[in-house]
Amino acid sequence: MTSTPQAVRRASPRTRPPAKKPTKAPARGQATTDPTAGLLPQTEPVRLLDPDGTPLPARADYPEPPAEALRELYRRMVVGRRFDTQATALTKQGRLAVYPSSRGQEACQVGAVLAVRDTDWVFPTYRESMALVSRGIDPVEVLTLLRGDWHCGYDPAQRHTAPQCTPLATQCVHAAGLAYGEAHQGRDTVALAFIGDGATSEGDFHEGINFAAVFKAPVVFFVQNNKYAISVPLSRQTAAPSLAYKGVGYGVPSEQVDGNDPVAVLAVLARAVEHARAGQGPFLVEAHTYRMEPHTNADDATRYRDGAEVDTWRDRDPIARLETYLRTREVLDDAAIAAIAEQAEAYAADLRERMHIQPEVDPLSLFDHVYAEPTPQLVEQRELVRAELTADRESEGNG
């Protein structure tokens, strides 16, 4: 995958002067003295394509991204989904300890990372493996923790990508701090913080978005509302009209988007990123989507949701939707689609192969990075383990 997405360049303030104040049109024709002006989301999620791929009337607030960006979006979604199904397959073969699939959320996973630059920072959760490979990170690196190794695989500093975060919502505060620190040092970095619907109930979501708002830190908080937190439905997380209505309570402009409409996701995220980069502070986006697979391979989703519900969402498949649209627009044809499918297969084959090589992990490396230098206590413990390993080897030799 290439690493300088089109959408990013398009959304860059270098090519487009930043708006001077929140660019969002006041919802529902409120007077400008309305204190909520520019902060509330639109009542309906932004949608640019119908579920069947038919384009909706063009709109001024969210212009359609250029064809090249959409083509790239499609390509990465196809490769991303193939990566995802391959990863799920690897769990069955015991090559991965656990895998949280994002199948069905491709528009969000790929659209979001396409909206930021390589120098922007991404704060993913455990669910964002697809987003990370879309960002160009080696899939074996992305799966390192999940295959049972003790570290996150990629180099976060080099990739501008935090380790996939498991303690829910904690990454929201990190994103605020990072974004503020970057701005403090004169860089125009944007931080993109992923978070799930369930995790918005955590205190750290509140504290993270509030810090970002108070310090006007350039963070885009991107909620993938996939309707479940493991088994718990959204109705147990909030009584709000929708999660995007949380923004106004922090003075943060917010939007909701059809998360299975790849064109809309890219358009809304591009605008949110632009807002943040222009120094206007954080932005909250809620994408309505659906997790097609169980929470992870270890989960049994039949306990809490029925197949009919899943089927409804199968009909809103983001890849098919974009494919139909791009065919209509003649951005894609059979040959291009086949070529992309082939790329995806090759990507999966390569991953499969490389994941079958069991990594060599030196047990003594456990002591290397607890501190910059091991403490005397750790040095002692390292010697203990070294002796145990030697004894093991010797007894194996003798046995």
Partner: protein, 338 residues
């Protein structure tokens, strides 16, 4: 009578408590339809309805704080923290309220509740899913801290925890969830505050709790080959601790190894070792030694066997109990270096 797993025993304890006392409420993340990620609450919502067993918003401080309020209204909340490290967001509620409300109100308000924490490793879990967090709670006055190692204890201690007038942090060793044993439920084992000798022995005492108990028993078995007859004490309730049983055992054997799965530094094992040498000094032929997890973040599956105190590490340590009544050479170099 039949084989039951610890998971099933815990489930039965919850069900029986719900049936016996309508003040009992079970709630947390995914405890409803799903029955919990470890299925400890399996079937409870179906049987008792979603007023008695229900899912909450995903927020651990919220869950524990909500339980505080419910306890104030006269209920008996039993909450599940999904994994050890995911109880940390609730730490302020636990340390500053759950532990202290009785004291702050001279007993006018008590907050009887059970905070169930699946803890420790050995299940190939990824990071944050295998922390041994018992010491944080044990160091906090006002909390009782309980951890079963057998199927019978799982049932009995959980029932006792729910009935207890004080808040109990109930630490469930994940790797033992699917351990099984013959058990006839309901069952009643020794009450809180009583350690149990799980295996009598004459040469040295192994003191363990929770996930370390099976390791201790296995080590004791293996030690027979080396000619050592080891006693194994299961602590069961870390707070209150049974000093009497522990000290009596060590006075009999004269040697002691404390085993815990948690990282060693300032853990529960340190407390036990410190107490044992205070109380049994003249009976000891060797220092009280400790076997524990390493002082590192819990490692991922590939390396967890290196971290976890296993039979070999226990036996190596037993070997260092100065059987020849000569000082441990290990510390001599350091002494002279200093």
């Amino acid at each position: 009578m039949g084989a039951t797993t610890m998971a099933k025993a815990l489930n039965a304890a919850l069900a029986d408590a719900l049936a016996d006392d309508e003040r009992v409420l079970v709630f947390g993340e995914d405890v409803g339809k799903l029955g919990g990620v470890f299925r400890i609450t399996d079937g409870l919502q179906a049987r008792f309805g979603d007023r008695r067993c229900f899912d909450t918003p995903l927020a651990e401080a919220g869950i524990v704080g909500f339980a505080v309020g419910l306890a104030m209204s006269g209920m008996r909340p039993v909450v599940e923290m999904q994994f050890d490290a995911f109880a940390y967001p609730a730490f302020e509620q636990i340390a500053s309220h759950v532990a202290k409300l009785r004291n702050r109100t001279r007993g006018a308000l008590s907050v009887p509740m059970v905070i169930r924490v699946p803890y420790a490793g050995g299940i190939g879990g990824v990071e944050h899913h295998c922390d041994s967090s018992e010491a944080y709670y044990a160091h906090t006055p006002g909390l009782k801290v309980v951890t079963p190692a057998t199927v019978d204890d799982a049932y009995s201690l959980l029932r006792e925890a729910i009935a207890d007038p004080d808040p109990v942090v109930f630490m469930e060793p994940k790797k033992l969830y699917f351990s099984s044993a013959e058990a006839e439920l309901p069952t009643r084992t020794e009450p809180f505050g009583r350690a149990v000798v799980r295996r009598p022995g004459r040469d040295a005492t192994l003191i363990a709790y929770g996930p370390a108990v099976p390791v201790a028993l296995e080590a004791a078995e293996a030690a027979r080959e080396e000619g050592w007859d080891l006693e194994v004490v299961d602590v069961r309730t870390i707070v209150p601790l049974d000093d009497a049983t522990i000290a009596a055992s060590v006075r009999r054997t004269g040697r002691c190894v404390v085993i815990q799965e948690a990282q060693g530094f300032a853990g529960v094992g340190a407390e036990i070792a410190a107490r044992v040498q205070e109380r049994c000094f003249h009976a000891l032929h060797a220092p009280v030694l400790r076997v524990s997890g390493l002082d590192i973040p819990y490692p991922a599956p590939m390396l967890e066997h290196t971290h976890l105190p296993g039979v070999d590490r226990v036996l190596d340590t037993v070997a260092r109990l100065q059987w020849d009544d000569r000082p441990d050479p290990r510390w001599l170099a350091q002494g002279s270096a200093a």
